[in-house]
Amino acid sequence: MKSEPSLHQAPIAELRNASKHFGDVIAADALNLTIKRGEFLSFLGPSGCGKTTALRMLAGFEAPTKGDVLLDGNAVNDLPAHRRPVNMVFQHYALFPHLTVAENIGYGLRQRRPRMPTSEIATAVERALDTVRLPGYGPRRIWEMSGGQQQRVALARAIVNEPKLLLLDEPLAALDKKLRRDMQIELQTLQRSLGITFVLVTHDQEEALSMSDRICILRGGRIVQVGSPRDLYDRPKNRYVADFVGKSNFFAGTVQQASKDGCSLTVDGGHVISGQSTQDLSRGQKCSASLRPEQIRLTRKPDGGVSYPVQIVTRIFLGEHTEYLVRHADLGDFLVLVPRQAEATEGGFEPGDAAIATWANGSALILADD
């Protein structure tokens, strides 16, 4: 594919108002997204949110019903998958069972026209096997490989082609937890060293948070928010994002007062929770106050800030932290995350104990439900 120098400034890929309809079902609704050269971007959302459709439009398996898909500044709506400089790591790997590991990895290179010399293909395959830390596994059969190894083969089969865009469709979903953590780190390292743009689809927020430069959160075929993991965690656009990214406690109420400097919410029992908002809110609007479990402290005696007397319902030991579910007469049940250090000074709580839940005044996020 010819690329003029000026186009190098163009984003590597772009969705412009891209929609995909399957009959009456709108799988993707006017998606607008710019994918930057060399970044690690994740599409995050529950099943049916349109993340896979977005990925498949980039791969060329689905043509947008409306709007455009751009690669390197060129619209590629009608370019079939086999002619796009894009490769995909499939959810269940989709390795060819009748070919060896080396034949699988070399498959993409063998499709090149004019033909690539066999010796060059062999060298490239060896290098790819080294990259995914499977040296010498070339002659093996696919079914002789473990799940984690198959995952690496799938990765090697894609990166050996040096694609402009590497698409990963829930690549770690089939692995056990320990292996998944290892692969997350490995994928991230690989992405940095290869400099290839990675686009990942996942429903696992932890995975998205730990690996991505940017996350695109989808819901019902629409993009809700795009931002860095930290942005999404600290400044979620609405309750949906706050709920999806990390754990959060929500207290439903009505906006009492809203201004640039902050707003306050009247919740059940007439309590007022004050905080900041990322949205324009108006008095009387139904909203939720969001407080992360780690923003709340548990003490035996009142200790500054806003404090509420609570009763411990359950305790879950998580190693570095202990997670308590506590109950307040008016606010209901909410989660508190107590670091080990704080536990050491304050002493642990047992279910049934009375305690004081405290948070800094104005630290809540006031979010509209949509």
Partner: protein, 285 residues
């Protein structure tokens, strides 16, 4: 009541074992013994030990030649017609159309093959298709009682047996493999040749085996559509056992057919297994 597992297994296998022994092994032994005997004065069998029957097999050369040419050609013709149909059913047809077409493939089985072959006699006979062809100027075309007619009957009768195994293997084919192939840069035809076709080979092998074995023993279709001019070993056997009553010679012909089938089928299985890389079946994840 407790029963040792091995006795229980034996009990379960008993009906099939008895059946297998009484209906296959025993008759085969009888035929084997008979093949070394002689024809009685009024036909039937007289015990003897002679190789004359086997040395005389050349007299039925035509039947063997017809069987050994038309069975493979018929299998190949079935394959060439069945594969595109199975491919369409498994990969292209909408679920609704697929169900309907699959039923259409099965429907002929609801009628006896005998009756359906009668229908072909009329279709291929003088007042059937040749009459229609005469209207467009192709006159004096003979179809019935030719190898072609037998081939038509074979393909018609055996097509479903070829379609189903291929359909099943294509249906089970992981469609993501086709996407993976396209994603890696293979145009549709190359994807077919490098992924779809190799992975449907178990179905092709099964279908060919089924059709080929049954064709080797076929006698009805050549009898009806070959009109005594195109006859198989099966027809020769009917003739030898029921008409000329030379049971000993008939047994030798039958043994020869069994032997030929054993050799070809074994060779075929060896070849397909080697082709599949030592596996009995290509596993799909």
């Amino acid at each position: 009541m407790a029963m040792r597992p091995q006795y229980r297994t034996a009990l379960f296998l008993l009906p099939a074992g008895v059946w297998f022994f009484a209906m296959l092994v025993l008759p085969l032994v009888v035929v084997f013994v008979f093949s070394f005997g002689e024809r009685g004065p009024a036909g039937g069998y007289v015990p003897a030990f002679t190789f004359d029957n086997f040395l005389n097999l050349g007299a039925r050369w035509t039947a063997f030649k017809n069987t050994l040419t038309l069975a493979p050609i018929g299998t190949l013709a079935c394959l060439l017609i069945a594969y595109p149909l199975a491919y369409f059913l498994a990969l292209r047809a909408s679920p609704k159309l697929r169900t309907m077409l699959l039923i259409l493939v099965i429907v002929p089985f609801w009628t006896s093959i005998l009756i359906r072959s009668y229908a072909w006699i009329f279709l291929l006979g003088g007042r059937g298709i040749p009459a229609l062809l005469a209207l467009v100027g192709l006159e004096d075309l003979r179809l019935i009682n030719t190898p072609f007619a037998v081939l038509v009957g074979i393909v018609y009768g055996y097509l479903p047996l070829m379609v189903f195994p291929i359909y099943v293997s294509l249906e089970r084919l992981d469609k993501r493999l086709l996407e993976a192939s396209a994603d890696l840069g293979a145009p549709p035809l190359r994807t077919f040749l490098t992924v779809t076709l190799p992975l449907s080979m178990p179905g092709v092998a099964t279908g060919c085996m089924l059709v080929f074995i049954l064709l080797m023993g076929e006698f009805l279709i050549p009898a009806m559509l070959g009109g005594g001019k195109v006859f198989f070993v099966g027809n020769a056997l009917v003739d030898l056992f029921l008409q000329s009553r030379n049971w000993a010679y008939g047994s030798a012909v039958a043994m020869a057919l069994v032997l030929i089938m054993l050799v070809t089928v074994t060779a075929y299985m060896r070849a397909t297994r080697r082709w599949a890389g030592g596996r009995d079946e290509v596993s799909l994840m």
